[in-house]
């Protein structure tokens, strides 16, 4: 950023003004309130497996309507069909939840009526503003950027509007008019406190209560800055108001965990991992003591490796597609060439033998045995790492530990070969990590990082290595680690 750009940003922060425009829509308001009432009536039962996905669908649709200026009948999410299916499911509801069945079906009928309506009240309001060239629409959800851009491109008077998401408003680009779609509470404070628009216009439904205040500020401010002038809406606020926060879909951590537990089997290896929620309704478990490759668009080192404990929202995490495991392995195998297969086989062999010894004799017995054989780093955790199926846990750090393992497993004749292979794999993984970082850096330099910020995710293909990876923005992470099957670590989950 140059000094002229910084001057502009300070000027905006001192002079920008905020206007509010309220939009009314009786049917949407009714659906919103009825859904809230229904959810309250369900109470704890709403968390049960029967209701959870149903509520999620209805609430997702409600949030989409309130947060994005797309027509109610916009087909991309296939809501029409999904509500039809939901209604069919609810026909049997009388037998399970007779007290909620009729109400639930009424709600779905209301949703179906909305999906048949062609209206787009927010965009109609924006249409009336006659926004000049350098204007943008700020929307909450990245995943609707494409649909909205397509829609705007078809409307002559609106095709000049840019569609942006909040992370893009950290850059130096500024707009004459920035239209914030939805209540301010849905956006980070900096949208208003460090504005990137000369004029900010909040367009939201009148039945959504906002009451925005900055989330944090210094306790005693030496110079408390005056708030940006906020011009209230000209129309009367609506009487029955829903708190805007209630509409934002929350992450159901238990549901994700439940999804995980359905996939486990008794002989699986478990590790401690943290769950990360990513853009586009994805999630991933990452092992707590690992490090991951990220894209950090605001850092001097754009592509870098970060320990899992230091990952934070806003970084773009590099992951492979579901079920395809670690992205380093194919690259490492390519580097290993003809050695790949035999080296992996020897790894499997000694690790399998160690696992077998632990399962037959027990951890304590193996631990004592390894210590007796001279393994100075032997501990239950290290033994778990040594026998792990994880591609990232290749070998003990010290040769004497490895020798002790070989001696204990009666594989001493192979010790040199096995150690050489383990070191070879280790080196190949290390080189593959470096190569992947280089490849990614080249791709990142070629790509439009603004686009990545806008959409929250991007794919990168490395044909030479038959590898396809994705960068997803981290939205949130579960604070405490969980014991999860190793096979699920690093693979993308659908929320």
């Amino acid at each position: 950023m140059n000094l002229s750009q910084a001057v502009t940003l300070y000027t905006l922060a001192q002079r920008a003004r905020v206007q509010i425009a309220l939009v009314a829509h009786a049917e949407l308001k009714s659906f919103t309130l009825n859904l809230r009432t229904f959810e309250r009536q369900l109470g704890e039962e709403g968390r049960e497996n029967y209701w959870r996905p149903k509520l999620r669908l209805l609430k997702g649709y409600r949030f989409r309507l309130c947060s994005t200026p797309l027509p109610f009948d916009e087909p991309s999410q296939d809501y029409k069909k999904r509500f039809k299916d939901l209604y069919q499911e609810l026909i049997k509801c009388d037998r399970i939840y007779p007290q909620f069945a009729e109400q639930a079906r009424n709600l779905v009928r209301q949703a179906q009526l909305l999906t048949s309506a062609s209206g787009n009240p927010i965009l109609e309001q924006i249409h009336t503003l006659g926004l000049p060239d350098k204007s943008a629409l700020l929307i909450k959800e990245s995943r609707f950027v494409d649909s909205l851009e397509i829609l705007l491109s078809k409307i002559l008077e609106l095709r000049h509007l840019r569609v942006v998401t909040a992370p893009q408003l950290r850059d130096e680009e500024v707009f004459d008019h920035l239209v914030i779609v939805g209540p301010m509470r849905w956006f980070p404070d900096y949208v208003v406190t460090a504005p990137r628009g000369r004029s900010l216009l909040i367009v939201r439904y009148g039945f959504l209560g906002d009451g925005w205040e900055p989330r944090v500020s210094f306790i005693p401010q030496k110079n408390r800055p005056p708030r940006l002038p906020i011009i209230p809406p000209s129309n009367e606020p609506e009487t029955e108001v829903v708190n805007a926060d209630e509409l934002v879909p929350t992450i159901d951590w238990d549901a994700v965990a439940a999804q995980m537990s359905r996939q486990t089997s008794s002989d699986q290896e478990f590790v401690d991992a943290r769950l990360f929620v990513l853009e586009d309704d994805k999630a991933v478990f990452l092992e707590v003591d690992a490090s991951e490759l990220v894209i950090d668009t605001r850092s001097e080192e754009v592509v870098r490796r970060v320990k899992v404990e230091r990952l934070e929202p806003g970084l773009f995490l590099i992951v492979r597609e579901r079920g395809s495991g670690d992205y380093i392995v194919p690259l490492a195998n390519r580097l290993l060439g003809e050695h790949a297969s035999p080296a992996r086989e020897t790894q499997k062999h000694w690790k399998g033998e160690l696992r077998r010894a632990v399962s037959i004799k027990g951890m304590d017995h193996v631990l004592n045995g390894l210590k007796w054989m001279g393994a100075r780093s032997a501990s239950p955790q290290n033994i778990r790492n040594w026998m792990s199926r994880s591609d990232r846990k290749i070998r003990p750090r010290y040769a004497e530990d490895f020798q002790a393992i070989m001696r204990y497993l009666d594989l001493l004749d192979n010790v040199e070969d096995y150690w050489k292979n383990a070191r070879r794999i280790n080196k190949a993984h290390h080189m593959a990590g470096i190569r992947m970082k280089e490849l990614l850096l080249v791709e990142v330099k070629k790509s439009n990082l603004g686009r990545l910020e806008q959409r929250g995710h991007q794919s990168f293909a490395f044909a030479e290595y038959e590898t396809h990876i994705h960068a997803y923005r981290i939205i949130e992470m579960k604070p405490s680690p969980k014991h999860v099957p190793l096979s699920e670590v690093g693979t993308l989950l659908e929320l």
């Binding site: 408003l169 980070p188 460090a194 944090v216 500020s217 210094f218 030496k222 408390r224």
Partner: protein, 323 residues
């Protein structure tokens, strides 16, 4: 202090804006505060982190520049040099030139001691008496080998841009004698770009001078070895951003939430400016952390006076016991 400074905007020179001078004045105020028992912590929440740390550091350095650099004691320095192992790289200032050299040892002639500095591969040596020992600076760099011949690098002891600032400073001393006033911890690339921003000013003699913020900050990492520096720069992502035991800066500027959250447990001997960009991902976490430090560590007795900051800047300031 820098009110008459100009920056390039759209092909013309414009006065630097008021908010930049606000940061300069803040740096100046902190520099002139005098307390050995307490240290000052100033938190700033800004619409963009750009240029805030650089101008605050400029104000601090210029205010401190009015104080003479504590000169090394010739005898102490001479003894220190005598104790260095042979081949230690040094920079030897001979008249107005800087020569690379290595310590050869010391000699005695007719009752006087001399440090012997070798200045080229042809065995040219300089015998430096104790009273000129301060002309020898230990180099931070290792020379692969000395040049075959060297005429030395001319010492620039004038910075035109500094003549235009409203500070009473000895520019020659400022150029020649090092002293670490401030360390900035942040995004190194962004900060270096900011320090290279072209600036200009008219001196009292109506001379139009050009320069950059680096002329004021005299960043150690960018100053010719052996010359005076005033600030240093550490990357917030560095593996080891610990203070140097021999050279603790009086002021540390955390330019961004990441550096503050990562390195705040160190640098507790220095005053702090914590510059937090409201758009940073970890802004809220950093504000909460700073608020906690305020609640637990502040001294109630302080009566601090600060310059007016720009409207868009939120500020927190408190004193705590120096540790």
């Amino acid at each position: 202090m820098l009110e008459n400074y100009l920056y390039e905007h759209g092909g013309t020179w414009q006065r630097i804006p008021q908010w930049c001078n606000g940061f300069v004045a803040l740096g100046q105020t902190i520099a002139r505060r005098n307390s050995d028992d307490t240290r000052l912590v100033v938190g700033l929440a800004v619409p963009t982190r750009a240029y805030g740390a650089a101008f605050a550091a400029a104000g601090y350095v210029l205010a401190r520049a009015e104080l003479p650099v504590e000169q090394l004691d010739c005898t102490d320095h001479f003894l220190r040099l005598c104790n260095l192992p042979p081949q230690t790289p040094v920079i030897y200032r001979e008249n107005d030139r800087l020569l690379k050299g290595t310590i050869e040892g010391y000699e005695q002639h007719y009752g006087s001691a001399y440090i012997v500095v070798r200045v080229n591969r042809e065995h040219a040596k300089r015998k430096v008496p104790a009273f000129l020992a301060t002309n020898i600076q230990i180099s931070g760099k290792r020379f692969a080998k000395l040049p075959k011949h060297q005429t030395g690098r001319v010492v620039l002891d004038d910075i035109p841009l500094l003549r235009a600032c409203k500070v009473n400073l000895a520019i020659r001393d400022f150029c020649l004698y090092p002293r670490l006033d401030a360390t900035i911890i942040g995004n190194k690339k962004a900060l270096l770009d900011e320090l290279n921003t072209p600036l200009a000013a008219r001196t009292v003699d109506d001379e139009f001078c050009r320069g950059t913020l680096q002329d004021i900050l005299r960043l150690k990492e960018r100053v010719t070895d052996g010359l005076g520096y005033r600030t240093s720069l550490r990357s917030e992502q560095g593996g080891n951003v610990k203070p140097d035991a021999n050279e603790t800066p009086r002021l540390v500027i955390f330019d961004g939430a990441a550096g503050f959250l990562k390195w705040r447990t160190m640098w507790r001997e220095s005053d702090w400016i914590v510059m937090l960009d409201k758009t940073e991902t970890r802004f809220e976490e950093a504000v909460v952390t700073l608020n906690q430090e305020y609640v637990s560590d502040r001294l109630d007795s302080s009566a601090l006076q600060f310059p007016d900051m720009p409207i868009a800047v939120d500020m927190l300031a408190y004193e705590e016991k120096r540790r």
